[in-house]
């Protein structure tokens, strides 16, 4: 079984505490033009308490910090709905080619044909995977993709002379869905789902004020929305559109294409499905695919092919406008494109199959020891509840105890519809052996909850810090160094 052992964990002060007056970590070429200064009343004095460090200080500082982290390269990272698959190293190398990293966004198009071609090809590939005929790569992350999609839906209704003010969202949705809808001025109607969304539940709230239904498919319980075609038809009949959150696309590649099912718009998370690194929180990338009717509303500019030339087209009079500077997270797009080249069409389908196999295998091994509230056939993730835990142990305790076994915990307390959710998504890049060891650890923890629950309550004890006082952090926020 996977276990943790003692290691040399070094303490490290903050940059500001390590600072020594006069120490430097930079080199600047000697000034080769005359020295001039702005007028004195414009200029600022020294930046108080700004750090002063040598290059070695800085290198040691961040190296030590890195050792307190846990990444996919450290071990199994089964966060549900986050698709923490392996981040291939060739992608990192490619993104650092000077021809990608050192190009200015305002360089004339004729001098950036390689970059534009890459974007165009990636668009075509994502269109093929998803079944949508048009695409924007601009959104910076999934949430911004949702926002872009909802803006396009709003613009479409407006162009059709419709004033609709509501959006239907199932109770299993990610929090970004209602937040993005609200940002487009919509009122959110939450609909309860019984594992999957029923046509009847949607029909009960669908009316002429509803602009769209937002669904995640498969949903956050890992269940395919089996009525999705009929639900799309129903919404369309009443004049609405359907938005799909593509967070769980890793369950569908080569199996089912959202664009073929009647869905009108969907965002991708390249940092989930297409292997780009999560970076400790970002940068992500959230391209959006749309049905033909929404093409005129895409954010500007769009990448187009004109003869043999690739161009940025700004001439979309009905566009929702731009959502950020320039054209998207290009360096992330390079990585995703590199991944698709490495995998090929068959490889993407195989990834989906093995991701689903891994999740179902975990389910089979843990069912019986952990409570499984939804018994339908699930795809790439599995959600247990805390109800089978003994001795007042909770999901949080299981999660923290997993750290002592050397694992990153799964997603916990989401989705909200499951009591004390423990949401496990293994992805396809974990071997049977890795998955088995993880299951062994969870089974051992379920046993510990019966016999030695204090091991769960005290956990983690082998990490750099123990459980932290989050209540005091929120009551008396200390959000920067040097000010109390």
């Amino acid at each position: 079984m996977n276990t943790t052992s003692r290691g040399l964990v070094l303490d490290e002060d903050l940059l500001f505490e390590k600072s020594q007056p006069g120490r430097i970590g930079y080199s600047i070429a000697e000034l080769d033009v005359p020295q001039v200064f702005p007028e004195g009343h414009f200029t600022r004095g020294e930046i108080a308490d700004f750090p002063e460090l040598s290059e070695v200080d800085v290198v040691r500082h961040y190296t030590r910090l890195s050792t307190w982290n846990y990444g996919v390269d450290s071990g199994f990272y089964p966060l549900g709905s986050c698709t923490m698959k392996y981040n291939p190293k060739v992608n990192e190398v490619a993104a650092r080619f000077p021809g990608f990293s050192d190009i200015h966004p305002q360089t004339p198009e004729a001098l950036n044909q390689g970059a534009l071609k890459l974007m165009y090809c990636l668009q075509r590939d994502l269109e093929e995977v998803s079944g949508f005929p048009a695409m924007t790569l601009q959104p910076a992350a999934g949430a911004q993709g949702e926002f872009a999609g909802m803006l396009m839906i709003h613009a479409w209704h407006e162009a059709n002379g419709q004033k609709r003010n509501k959006v239907i969202i199932p109770d299993t949705a990610h929090g970004t869905n209602p937040a993005s809808a609200a940002l487009c001025g919509y009122e959110v109607i939450t609909v309860a789902s019984d594992g999957v969304l029923s046509k009847e539940a949607v029909a009960a709230v669908m009316d002429d004020d509803v602009a769209a239904l937002m669904v995640t498919n498969p949903n956050t319980l890992g269940l395919f929305e089996a009525d999705i075609r009929e639900i799309c038809e129903l919404v369309h009949e009443r004049g609405g559109l359907v938005y799909a959150d593509g967070a769980n696309l890793n369950a569908l590649m080569g199996i089912s294409r959202p664009g073929d099912l009647g869905i009108d718009v969907m965002h991708f998370n390249l940092h989930k499905t297409f292997s780009t690194p999560h970076g400790g929180g970002g940068p992500g990338s959230g391209p959006v695919g749309v049905a033909e009717k929404l093409r005129p509303y895409l954010p500007v500019p769009v990448v187009v092919k004109d003869g043999d030339d690739y161009k940025l087209d700004y001439n979309l009079p009905d566009s929702i406008g731009r959502l950020k500077s320039f054209y998207g997270h290009f360096a992330i797009l390079v990585r995703a494109y590199s991944y698709i080249l490495s995998m090929g069409g068959e490889g993407l389908r195989r990834a989906t199959e093995l991701a689903v196999l891994n999740a179902n295998y975990i389910r089979a091994r843990l069912e019986g020891s952990y409570d499984l509230p939804n018994k339908q056939r699930s795809l790439h993730e599995v959600v247990f509840s805390e109800d089978a835990l003994e001795n007042d142990c909770h999901t949080l305790d299981v999660a923290k105890r997993l750290i002592d076994y050397g694992y990153h915990p799964p997603t916990i307390y989401f989705p909200l519809v499951v009591h004390g959710s423990l949401m496990i998504e293994p992805t396809e890049t974990e071997s049977k052996q890795a998955v088995d060891e993880f299951c062994d650890a969870l089974l051992a923890i379920a046993e510990e909850a019966k016999v030695t629950p204090e091991l769960l309550k005290q956990a983690p004890v082998r990490s750099k810090v123990k459980r932290l006082d989050e209540a005091t952090a929120a009551r008396k926020p200390k959000l920067r160094w040097g000010q109390d």
Binding site: A471, A474, R475
Partner: protein, 127 residues
């Protein structure tokens, strides 16, 4: 869990104590227990007018937010100024030091429609 006899209760887990025409309002022991460590409290200003059922404040724990709804209509005559600085008081003393606001009640008859302690206790067991 502790529910004082002389108080009235709401389905949103607020308590009300009426003395003459002034009602003191707070959240119940059950509510604070459900929320966990309370870290932030937002209160109305003295002089604000409350409508039954409208939100008059917010109580937050580390990972949850809860609106607090007015059980009765009236004008806010006093707020517990100490609470925002020490939100944990709501956990430690929900019925005494953790009172939230005092309201000059517009219609005292509404108070009789609130739950008494027995009814509320039953309500929490169902909930």
């Amino acid at each position: 869990m502790d529910f004082p006899e002389e108080y009235k209760y709401t389905e949103d887990h607020e308590w009300v104590l009426v003395e003459e025409d002034v009602a003191t309002i707070g959240i119940t022991d059950f509510a604070q227990d459900q929320l966990g460590d309370i870290v932030f409290v937002e209160l109305p200003e003295v002089g604000d007018t409350l409508e039954v059922g409208a939100s008059f404040g917010v109580v937050e724990s580390v990972k949850a937010v809860s609106d607090v709804y007015a059980p009765i209509s009236g004008e806010v005559v006093e707020v517990n100024e100490a609470l925002p600085d020490d939100p944990e008081t709501l956990n430690n003393s929900p019925y005494e030091e953790g009172w939230m606001i005092k309201v000059k009640v517009a219609d005292l008859s509404v108070v009789n429609e609130l739950m008494d302690v027995a009814a509320y206790q039953e309500f929490t067991e169902k909930d």
